[in-house]
Symmetry: C2
Subunit: 258 residues, 2 copies
């Protein structure tokens, strides 16, 4: 049990030791960090070759593999979780093969120098929460329709129409049908076209006028132009304010409960 948790670190291990420690770790579903000089081949949906250099390699307990260079957010090579790992020695080099089926993809890493190798099991039950998603904005608008405009009354949400799903569907204070398209970030032309498609479909279906409102924290200049030319409206809605609305309503729910 203690061994599971303990972090075992090897500085400058020789190839044989590295092979043993790695296969041990792969069998015991322990995570691994390797820093060393390596080159990497990938074959699958595409193919790639990474010429020799020092990199950080992480193998996680679920089989995910990441090869990181000295810069940038993205790994240069990787393998998602669920791949089968194997380490062996070949011509005085450490070889690690990570194989995945569906799609069939293989990442092969060759090390001629291992500066550092560490194996361990992470104890991690902490919850992760992300706030102010597009879904949060939708919920907030449904709970607090004045975020769109005074007198707006939602009737439905995620309403199925031919081209997709309408985020929020309702009537304005004059009784006109309103379609609301929500974007969590600056809305581009794409968002306007999406809204326009819904409007056109509904106009044909219902045989009456339909208003379109694009709800987003901001809108790009060309999108605004397109929006105007199509006779649609824009309503600035702040995702963070939506989070606050949700939080407030949640609190009220709890207050009402007691």
């Amino acid at each position: 049990m203690f061994k599971d948790r303990r972090i075992v670190t090897y500085e400058n291990p020789d190839i044989d030791e590295a092979v043993n420690r790695l296969n041990e770790a792969f069998n015991e579903k322990r995570a691994v960090i390797i820093v060393g000089n390596c080159w990497v081949d990938y074959h699958g949906r595409a193919s790639s070759r990474l010429e020799p250099g020092e990199r950080i390699v992480i193998v996680k307990e679920d089989g995910a593999v990441l090869v990181h260079r000295s810069r940038g957010y993205e790994p240069v090579n990787w393998q998602p979780s669920g791949c089968i790992l194997q380490a062996f020695k070949e011509e005085d080099k450490l070889v690690i093969k990570a194989v995945k089926r569906i799609p069939h993809e293989v990442v092969t890493m060759f090390f001629n120098k291992i500066h550092f190798l560490s194996t361990f099991r992470l104890m991690d039950e902490g919850e992760f929460s992300l706030y102010a998603s597009e879904e949060d904005m939708q919920k907030a608008i449904l709970m607090e329709p004045s975020l769109i405009e005074d007198g707006f009354k939602p009737i439905d949400y995620e309403k199925r129409v031919k081209p997709g799903f309408i985020d929020v569907y309702g009537v304005d204070k004059s009784g006109r049908i309103v379609v609301v398209e929500i974007k969590r970030r600056t809305a581009g032309r794409e968002a306007v076209l999406q809204l326009a498609k819904y409007i056109e479909t509904l106009r044909r279906e219902l045989g009456r006028e339909v208003r379109g409102i694009l709800a987003a924290p901001d809108i790009s200049k060309d999108a605004r132009q397109l929006l105007l030319s199509l006779g649609l409206d824009f309503k600035r809605v702040d995702p963070k304010k939506c989070s606050e609305v949700l939080r407030r309503k949640e609190e009220r729910k709890i207050v009402d409960f007691f």
Copy 2:
């Protein structure tokens, strides 16, 4: 110089030592790996909170930050390259702040236990090559137009039309204008609609018939149906074969040169 390259590892460092080593590393643009118990706040385009647990944190020399949990390909929290880093002690905890402007985003990591901390500089000049990209396919088709069909003659590529850029533009053996849309993977409805937009624009512009060919390794069932209903063609083109064509042509170039 040697110190730069050497990997320096501290097992179970106390908070003060960790703070010193980290700020040293941030100043000297050395990369850092930390394994320890931490919680993380993020505020920026969205907001998030990660409750305590053991994680792997990487800080790269360009300021990129990655917080990895025990499973999966993606970091749970991160910061792209170019952010400003700072480590300090607060109430017996190690705090690392990673701040980026444009957009303004802050990731704050709190550690109450550091299992190990390692700092180093990666020597990495190795080239990375990805084969069989969409660009490779385009090049291959331009070099070997029969990949599309016999008698096809390319005239232009990346041709600007109102909705975007036409991958390859040419004439078929009957002299009809042909627009080729290339996809490196199974083409979906989206690809067909893209091609259709180009075709329609060109038809209006030129006032004559225009053929459309979707070139991809495969096409989804619904995309094929849409394609047929629009009177467009599909041509199966294998990305790997394109790579081979390119390689062959490159070889020929070298042969011709000598």
